[in-house]
Amino acid sequence: MTSFEQHFEDKINNEVNIEPRDWMPDDYRKTNIRQISQHAHSEIVGMLPEGNWITRAPSLRRKAILLAKVQDEAGHGLYLYSAAETLGITRDEMIEQLHTGKAKYSSIFNYPTTSWADMGAIGWLVDGAAIMNQVALCRTSYGPYARAMVRICKEESFHQRQGFEILLSLVRGNATQKKMAQDALNRWWWPSLMMFGPNDDNSPHSAQSLHWRIKRFSNDELRQKFVDAATEQAKVLGLAIPDPALKWNEERGHYDFGEIDWEEFWNVVKGNGPCNKERLDTRRKAWEDGEWVREAAMAYVEKRKNRSQKAA
């Protein structure tokens, strides 16, 4: 071990953050770039399923809340792209990787939002699952990532609350509204559990990431925490979680739950989810349609610079 490596390992072991200018192993850098950019892409692609309901929100208040929520996700994307940029990759390069399919984003956003209740289910479950991950990441070892997470977590609890509140209004409404809420839970429950990734014994990057403190808890630990919390919340809503195997286990002090459909999981990861193509096409189109705008903005800045240089 070189002295650089030794120094790095010491920092990891002593819970000292790694900062952009510190020496770090190549793989550590790569793993962080992969994870942070994937996280950033998830925030941006994640704007689309909820954006799908902004113009159809059922009240002005709900519309304003949803707009603000989706806007927050854009802000999260910004923080995260900036954090990743400290590792020596540009935002444009990352976006390019998203558009070519080289970089992934969270598979959950490849499912369609077909009813208003999905805005509730996404806030409650998807943001809820994201919070489990993100709270843990506030103590991740790479400083800029950890600090971005602290900012993001502050906003996420509002996201989960607004989702839960949407569902609460629905279950307190009439039979159709209740049905709408249950239908959304039926569709979003399993994909939400999948958000934590493969089982620990099938997770290729997990061991190294845990050692480097990029990850603080294993996929299965976080998933269990989520199931425990969400099951109690579902009781408050009076909705039934679509898992016949879900049962309190006194001995473990946790809920047991059924097996995830891993075939579906890998299938969606590979690009065969109901909306994979649509989501990517939409992102690419926004980027391509915006090209002349970005060019104009840059050309204008250049012109200004030249003019002020001439004036000086």
């Binding site: 113009t55 709900r62 707009l67 989706v70 910004l78 409404g173 349609d289 970005r294 050309a299 204008y300």
Partner: protein
């Protein structure tokens, strides 16, 4: 003078004018917010996605304050005075049943012919140039308008104007900067924004056209003399266009009608989207 029968007709007229005036402002803000909200997630760059959403959120906030005020006005009217104000069956049923109305009843239960918004705000986003041009014309107008409305004898409108003026001043700065950037950017952007400002020019005349409602409100010291804003508006527009190296459109016929319920084909689709849940599952809380 309450209860004096001779005063009842002018009173009712004034009440209706104030209601129409408030609704017209609310509809503008709501439709504008809707259009800008359509961009959310599709902007040319993340920072601008966020900026547009900010503006959309300000507009929806303005719309809510104004609709709330309009609803209060309606709730204070005797039923006989408001039975035939609107065409919508669901809305009229609520009124006939003596129910109190709220902001959402007015946004979600009026069809296009009862909407009093400008033709300008319902125009489609099309692309970034059209979106910027539409915002610029509207923001430049609203900034002058709210400045004037700060002197309203109606305390509620005055209060809303004071708060909104700060917001719209920022909106105008944002859209002006984009006009300049696109005009003085690349050849392509110059051409695109020139086309957009030309194409949307025909919807700018309506902003200054005084309907009977506008006249009544201006005379009462509640509303703003719109025609009087035109000179300043034009000067501001010219100033920005000069900086942007853009040509002021001329000789174009001005379209109007939105303020009196005669809309383009676009508003119907906006409302079909916006009102879908309220129409399909009527009378529920969300």
């Amino acid at each position: 003078m309450e209860g004096n029968p001779n005063n009842e007709i002018p009173n009712t007229k004034m009440k209706n004018a104030l209601l129409n005036y408030t609704l017209s402002l609310a509809d503008n803000a709501s439709v504008m917010s809707h259009r800008l909200g359509e961009w959310c997630g599709h902007g040319p760059v993340l920072e601008q996605d966020i900026a547009l959403t900010n503006i959309s959120l300000d507009d929806i906030g303005q719309a809510r304050s104004l609709y709330q005020y309009a609803a209060e006005q309606l709730n204070n009217m005797p039923t006989t005075e408001k039975t035939n104000l609107f065409s919508d069956m669901m809305l009229n049923a609520k009124i006939a049943a003596g129910e109190n109305l709220d902001e959402d009843d007015l946004a979600y239960l009026r069809d296009a012919w009862d909407y009093r918004s400008l033709l300008l705000v319902e125009q489609p986003n099309k692309d970034w140039a059209y979106t910027i041009a539409r915002s610029f014309y509207y923001d430049a107008f609203m900034q002058l308008f709210y400045k004037g409305l700060q002197n309203s004898k109606d305390d509620r409108l005055k209060g809303i104007a004071e708060k909104s003026l700060k917001e719209v001043t920022y909106h105008l700065r944002w859209s002006s900067e984009w006009i300049i950037r696109l005009g003085d950017g690349t050849d392509e952007s110059h051409q695109k924004i020139q086309t957009a400002i030309n194409d949307l020019w025909m919807y700018t005349g309506e902003m200054f056209k005084m309907t009977d409602t506008d006249k009544a409100m201006a005379v009462a010291g509640i509303g703003v003399d719109l025609a009087g804003l035109h000179k300043d508006w034009l000067n501001n527009i010219k100033n920005i266009f000069t900086q942007a190296t853009l040509q002021l459109p001329t000789d174009i016929w001005m379209q109007d009608g939105g303020k009196e319920g005669h809309h383009s084909e676009h508003l119907g689709y906006i409302l079909a989207d916006m009102q879908f849940l309220q129409r399909t599952y009527p009378g529920l809380d969300w």
